[in-house]
């Protein structure tokens, strides 16, 4: 029911027939998916682990996090590579 409403809502929202057709194309594609559903589950889980856990908690961009300007970053790296 929610799915039908969403479909109707978006179809009405898109005044442009081309956009409507593109939306319907993707909507029908995902709706009629069989074996692909499991794959989408894996993709979403993987992206969640990667971006919401690994990126957030384990992989900060150190130079972006620790320094405010490129000049500071350059100075830090120069220090590191001349005094490793």
């Amino acid at each position: 029911m929610i799915r039908v409403r969403l479909s109707l809502f978006i179809c009405l929202k898109f005044k442009n027939p081309m956009l409507k057709r593109i939306f319907r194309f993707y909507y029908d594609g995902f709706r009629k998916m069989t074996w692909g559903r499991k794959l989408w589950g894996i993709i979403l889980l993987k992206l969640f682990i990667m971006f919401a856990i690994l990126r957030l908690f384990f992989f900060p961009d150190l130079l972006k996090r620790d320094f405010n300007s490129d000049e500071e970053r350059a100075s830090h790296v120069l220090e590191q590579i001349t005094n490793p």
């Binding site: 499991k38 894996i42 990667m50 992989f59 350059a74 790296v77 005094n83």
Partner: protein, 531 residues
């Protein structure tokens, strides 16, 4: 001479915790090798699918549609499990390799940004049309989407390989001592460097070969089970034609790659052949077994337990004449005046001068000494000084360290290279045999050959991974060849932090790999008729 002025540098270098470097390398290798399980199959299978799809559109034969749909499904599974696994490598650049990321930023950033924007979106859009487009869009548009997916995948690979090629052979750039970054001076030199072009062709060819062997092997399983015989035979014909072309191309580009390595990275070349003493009429070791300790430079002749050599072949491979001189590891480490190879001791001295100059430049800037600063800065733009000192920059970090640290792992390189060559030869013979038997309509009549096809399925992955092991381990100790060693590139993190993420990756990747195998096997078992 400069070394006496660098006691802090010496002390700090000696205090670097190698376990941090090793864990960081291990983590990167794990991620890259896992990512590379999926990439070559995506690259190769996309073209095979597009080719099958073309036959369907041209002939209108429904059997070709079933064939296309089945292989498209396997392509989709591989694509879905593998997609975005490469992004983790970019996370690691920012966290574990921050010095490196900054040092190469502009060079690495540009190709990766182009890849992200152009190829990824192109690929993603057309993958959707490829899967959802059956009976929804015109046949020709649908077919175009299949081809654009294939080209999009290869286009993604171009940029990554260009970036890697630059690390192997840094060209088209200049080092800016103010920003500590390499800046691109010529985009085309970076993209069309001989190393980049050859790397792309060799990688793409070997990926096509891998996908061909995969299609032949899976089809052989159907023939062994006496299921879907027409489907399996047709798939085999396409894959074997594709496979023979890819095998020849892989060998030809591999040969030219070896020639480029011999010229641009002679240490890697010497290591992959375990050649310790340089010589003219150098033989090629066809098969050999090495001793445990390969770092003993005093007794290089004793490093093999046994070996079978092809006389003159190594010199001929590089120079197309047997009289060409191939430098050995000892020639490169200790120098060879006659053949114009500078010793590592000398290169270390020169590199230390370049590092000291950069250090003094930084100090001059900090104390506002403009005259000293300008004079020092000018050196980094002086071609003669660059040639004499800066091009040895990375060697300066090895002042006071053991020379053997500048030698890559000989055994790993030797075996990786030989595994790749032996398997490559097997693939050529195998695909030619399959094609010949298929054309004579005799493929499938010899059960043992079908078993060979089945057993051969994992071999191209082994060869492909061995190729990357050779490319990356052979370049050691450098991250950027002769400019930045691994020990300088790594971020100063606690080793335990790297260890934790290493194990998280190992568990996640193993789970994903098991999922891929399970889903793929279940879809193969269902066959082209199953949903």
């Amino acid at each position: 001479m400069y070394w006496n002025k660098l006691p802090i540098l010496k002390a700090m270098l000696e205090s670097i915790d190698m376990s941090l470097v090793d864990w960081s390398r291990g983590q990167f290798a794990l991620t890259a090798m896992f990512h590379w399980i999926f990439v070559p199959l995506t690259l190769g299978l996309s073209f095979i699918v597009a080719f099958m799809h073309t036959i369907y559109v041209r002939t209108g034969d429904e059997e070709w549609m079933r064939i296309t749909k089945f292989w498209m499904k396997l392509f989709g599974i591989n694509f879905a499990i593998g997609v975005a696994t490469g992004i983790i490598l970019e996370f690691e650049f920012g966290t574990n390799w921050s010095n490196y990321s900054w040092f190469v930023g502009d060079i690495f950033g540009a190709p990766l940004a182009i890849e992200g924007i152009l190829a990824f979106f192109l690929e993603s859009t057309f993958v959707a049309i490829m899967f959802f487009g059956w009976n929804k869009v015109s046949k020709r548009f649908h077919l175009t989407a299949s081809w654009l997916t294939a080209f999009g995948a290869s286009l993604s690979a171009v940029w990554i390989l260009v970036a890697n090629a630059w690390m192997q052979h840094p060209v088209g750039t200049a080092f800016n001592p103010d920003t500590a970054r390499n800046e691109m001076t010529n985009f085309w030199d970076v993209i069309f460097s001989e190393v980049a072009v050859n790397k792309f062709l060799h990688t793409i060819s070997s990926s096509f070969l891998l996908a061909s062997v995969f299609v032949i092997g899976v089809s052989a399983w159907f023939l062994l089970r006496k299921r879907e015989v027409l489907f399996a035979k047709r798939s085999t014909v396409i894959a074997s034609v594709f496979g023979v072309i890819a095998a020849v191309s892989t060998i030809v580009t591999g040969d030219s790659s070896a020639r480029i390595v011999a010229r641009e990275q002679p240490m890697k070349f010497a290591a992959m052949e375990a050649l310790y003493e340089g010589q003219t009429h150098a033989p090629l070791v066809a098969i050999g077994a090495m001793r445990t300790d390969t770092t003993n430079l005093s007794y290089p002749r004793e490093n093999f337990i046994f070996k079978i050599e092809i006389p003159n072949a190594l010199s001929y491979m590089v120079f197309l004449t047997p009289s060409g001189f191939i430098p050995g590891i000892t020639d490169l480490v200790f120098g060879n005046e006659e053949q114009n190879y500078m010793s590592y001791e000398e290169r270390i001295e020169r590199g230390a001068v370049a590092i000291q100059t950069l250090k003094e430049l930084k100090k001059a800037k900090e104390r506002g000494d403009e005259i000293a600063y300008d004079a020092l800065r000018e050196k980094f733009y002086d071609p003669i000084w660059i040639d004499q000192y800066y091009q040895h920059f990375g060697y300066g970090y090895y002042k006071g360290r053991e020379l053997k640290e500048l030698i890559p792992n000989v055994k790993m390189n030797f075996y990786s290279f030989h595994v790749m060559v032996v398997l490559g030869t097997h693939f050529l013979i195998f695909t030619m045999l399959v094609l010949w038997l298929s054309l004579k309509n005799r493929w499938g009549k010899h059960k043992w050959l079908l078993w060979v096809a089945l057993i051969t399925i994992p071999m191209p992955w082994i060869a492909s991974q061995a190729g990357w092991v050779l490319a990356e381990l052979g370049r050691q100790p450098w991250v950027v060849y002769e400019l930045m060693p691994t020990l300088t590139a790594v971020s100063r993190l606690k080793p335990v932090a790297v260890q934790i993420t290493f194990w998280i990756f190992l568990v996640t990747f193993t789970a994903l790999f098991i999922a891929e195998i399970k889903i793929m096997l279940s879809q193969i078992k269902k066959g082209p008729g199953g949903e």
